[in-house]
Amino acid sequence: MSVGLEREPSQAVEPASGQSDSGGAGRAAERPTWPHRHLLDTDVLTGGDVELVMATADAMKQVLARPIPTVPALRGRNVTLLFYEASTRTRVSFEVAGKNLSANVVNIATAASSVTKGESLVDTVRTLEALGAQLLVIRHGVSGAPYLAARHFGGHIVNAGDGWHAHPTQALLDLYTIRERLGQSLAGRKVVVLGDVLHSRVARSNVWTLTAAGADLWLCGPATLLRGFEAWARVGAAGRRFTVTSDVNAALRDADVVMALRVQRERMASALVPSLREYAARFGLTAERLELARPEAFVMHPGPMNEGVEIAPAVAEGPRSVITTQVANGVAVRMAVLQLLAGRVA
């Protein structure tokens, strides 16, 4: 029943606290094993699970630094990318990650498949399994769709973004990028997520990983785009607490990390934001606003950006931006995730 969440029996070992980061591939002897069949969200990841992804990503980054950045970890395995929503960076990132691991990567463009003839997700997933898919990477516009797929698929599912719900590899690559700069523990570090939180799967998955890492997390945006989050912050699901505010100055003051989120044009049609101009004026991440943050603070964005709306071009392309580093780290983290999941069937 709970195939998507269930932790299979394992000898998972929590890493000793205070263990330095960048354990890398050389620490295999004391490394915990990966207990999850799928990666559907970050909410079920323990501290040990996250450390394992980070350590494996370190190893993958070393692979990426080679002249020929390819290892045979998934040779002969089939990684199928099933994207029901348009995506460039995430799809290409998974494709490159799979190819770097020597997997056979199959790309399903849903517009050209029988999905447009009304085939159900369950039938599609079963068909892809019959065609040899072993790792299925799903992007879907409806929250929870990968959980449905997981109930009907014999292999491994990676959620590449479902509706407003989750985008676990993005949260993991965000965490990886932050830790590269701030170290393993984020205790006391102020991380601000600024923008359209309501519709953001990136924000939700980041809530789990960043609060678990000890960050002082702030979610900031117009009240219409924070609806419901005050309840989450108050209850502090699973003891995870964060701050919700519409006061952009209070949020940015002394921030260590600022992550801007995309604001889509459609939000005006649903009466959530009066205009993009007004949004940019009140909530856009400008160089001037960024002065409120710590001098060494850096800026992130999961992309794609609306430059001049949620983020000023000078900030997106400025010296504090790590946006292209996020993209590069995305490949390493996705290689790590594919490797950890497929290692189960090796």
């Binding site: 029943m1 709970s2 195939v3 998507g4 969440l5 909410d43 159900s120 997700l121 369950v122 879907h140 409806v142 929250s143 929870g144 769709a145 959980y147 449905l148 997981a150 109930r151 479902d162 509706g163 407003w164 719900h165 989750a166 799967r201 939700r204 609806r227 419901g228 989050f229 309840a231 989450w232 209850v235 502090g236 699901a237 699973a238 003891g239």
Partner: protein, 477 residues
């Protein structure tokens, strides 16, 4: 118990003698140890036991009560017979202890005129089940929300009220006319209170769970706003038509129930019902919880955090939980229970909404709304009784006398145990449970979020107008 000479469903009950059972008689306001004798389908004797005779009989064993009435059920005939037919629906109803069902008119085509009622009558005439099938007519032509359906014609054809259920009566002006015209005919308007402007695209009750799961919020305000509109219109028409009657169905939120409580205190002629899933389940279930709603609040009535206390035991996003109105917060479920206890809610109605797997085994946000619930209603209420949250007598009243309060004598005899009448009874064993499974559900709609769970209160017999409608297999052993 000793049963039974007659054999199969639909046959007259030749003889039934139940000694030492717990009798519940809502119309008489009485419960206690007793025995009943049915001869030739007639409830020959109801003997209440006293003193030594009553020793050892308590309300935790076999219970005898009037068969239940469901004010709100969807059988899908005509138009979607793969989801439910009237034959399978009545079989499911009898398995749930129901002897009378009131069908919503939103079939395809809808029951929006005498042709629809004639079609229904001809199906019912050929039915082997003795379950009484009553029907609402649509408020508006084609249930489209614009022109009135032929309410008088529908009344002549025997409808018990009017509803555009599935949707609210769209405009206050149409509702106003329907209340006036229906009042003139002596029939209630049954509204599904939902402000559609607040629920466009909504997937789950707006609150903690929807936020965490990234589901589009379905605010409680959408129900309260609609109830407020309906009550204002009702109050407005009473001076012109004092017989106007409004019934609000599947009310699910604390603020809406507060409005209805105040309206009843002001003596407005309004009634309401609550669905069993809104009493016993909560939005936590979408995240993977499987605990009863009353276990999901702390000692001061605040919702607990299911992520913290380890109660998430199933995978999230089970689309069998998608229903309109949505499963609400544990606080709202507690308010539903309180409303049932203080009489703000007159009845429990199942909103039985069977669907095929084609419509239901899909992404949560694309799944059809509805729970197949007519067979699990008793079990959910008994779970509340077992937990000490609901007196047994009130639970039974809510599915018998409550319906009579809403629809009057149009639903036929049978909210009491009356000697000399045709027997219309349910016999169930509170101490026995059954597993909710696709095989055990007689409904074609297997879309129950309770699949795999054991429910208390196993129905042994349902008898309607002297005939067996349901007999548990264990009685044939």
């Amino acid at each position: 118990m000793s049963a039974v000479a007659a054999t199969s469903v639909g046959q007259p009950v030749a003889d039934l003698e139940l000694s030492r059972a717990w009798l519940v008689d809502p119309a008489g306001g009485r419960e206690g140890p007793g025995e009943i004798i049915v001869t030739n389908g007639v409830l020959e004797a109801v003997n209440w036991l006293e003193g030594d005779e009553a020793a050892g009989v308590d309300e935790r064993g076999v219970v005898v009560a009037p068969a239940f009435t469901d004010l709100h059920a969807h059988f899908r005939e005509p138009g979607n017979e793969a989801a439910e037919t009237i034959a399978t629906g009545t079989a499911a109803a009898a398995h749930g202890g129901f002897g009378t069902v009131c069908l919503m008119p939103n079939t395809d085509p809808p029951v929006d005129g005498r042709e629809g009622m004639a079609r229904l009558d001809s199906v019912v005439a050929g039915l082997s089940s003795p379950v009484r099938v009553l029907a609402y007519g649509a408020v508006t032509a084609r249930s489209a929300g614009e022109e009135l359906a032929p309410l008088g014609e529908l009344a002549d054809a025997g409808v018990v009220g009017y509803s555009d259920d599935g949707s609210p009566v769209r405009s206050a002006a149409v509702l106003r006319s329907a209340l006036l015209y229906g009042g003139m005919l002596g029939l209630p308007v049954v509204d599904h209170p939902e402000d559609l402007g607040l629920t466009s695209g909504a997937e789950a009750h707006e609150g903690l769970v929807a936020t965490v799961l990234g589901l589009r919020g379905w605010p409680a305000a959408a129900e309260a706003a609609a109830v407020g509109r309906d009550l204002a219109v009702l109050a407005d028409v009473l001076a012109d038509e004092p017989r106007a009657r409004l019934h609000l169905t599947h009310v699910s939120t604390a603020p809406a129930l507060d409005l209805i409580r105040s309206a009843k205190a002001a003596r407005l002629p309004v009634t309401c019902d609550i669905a069993p899933h809104h009493l016993a389940l909560s939005d936590e279930w979408l995240a993977g919880s499987r605990r009863w709603a009353w276990e999901a609040v702390d000692s001061v009535g605040r919702a607990r955090d299911p992520w913290t206390d380890g109660s998430l035991v199933a995978a999230p996003f089970d689309s069998s939980l998608r229903v309109n109105p949505p499963l609400r917060s544990p606080e709202d479920a507690a308010a539903c229970l309180a409303a049932l206890l203080d009489g703000t809610a007159d009845a429990v109605a199942t909103d039985h909404a069977p669907h095929t797997s084609v419509d239901k085994d899909v992404e949560f946000g694309l799944a059809a709304n509805g729970i197949s619930g007519i067979e699990t209603a008793l079990g959910l209420l008994i779970a509340g009784v077992d937990a000490g949250r609901l007196p047994l007598l009130r639970a039974i009243e809510a599915m018998t006398l409550g319906a009579s309060r809403v629809l009057g004598d149009r639903i036929g005899p049978g909210s009491g145990l009356v000697e000399g009448e045709q027997a219309t009874l349910v016999v169930f064993d509170r101490a026995d449970s059954w597993e909710v499974s696709p095989t055990n559900l007689l409904s074609l709609g297997k879309n129950s979020p309770l699949l795999g769970l054991e429910l208390p209160g196993r129905v042994l017999l349902t008898i309607v107008d002297g005939q067996f409608a349901y007999r548990d297999r264990s009685l044939d052993a």
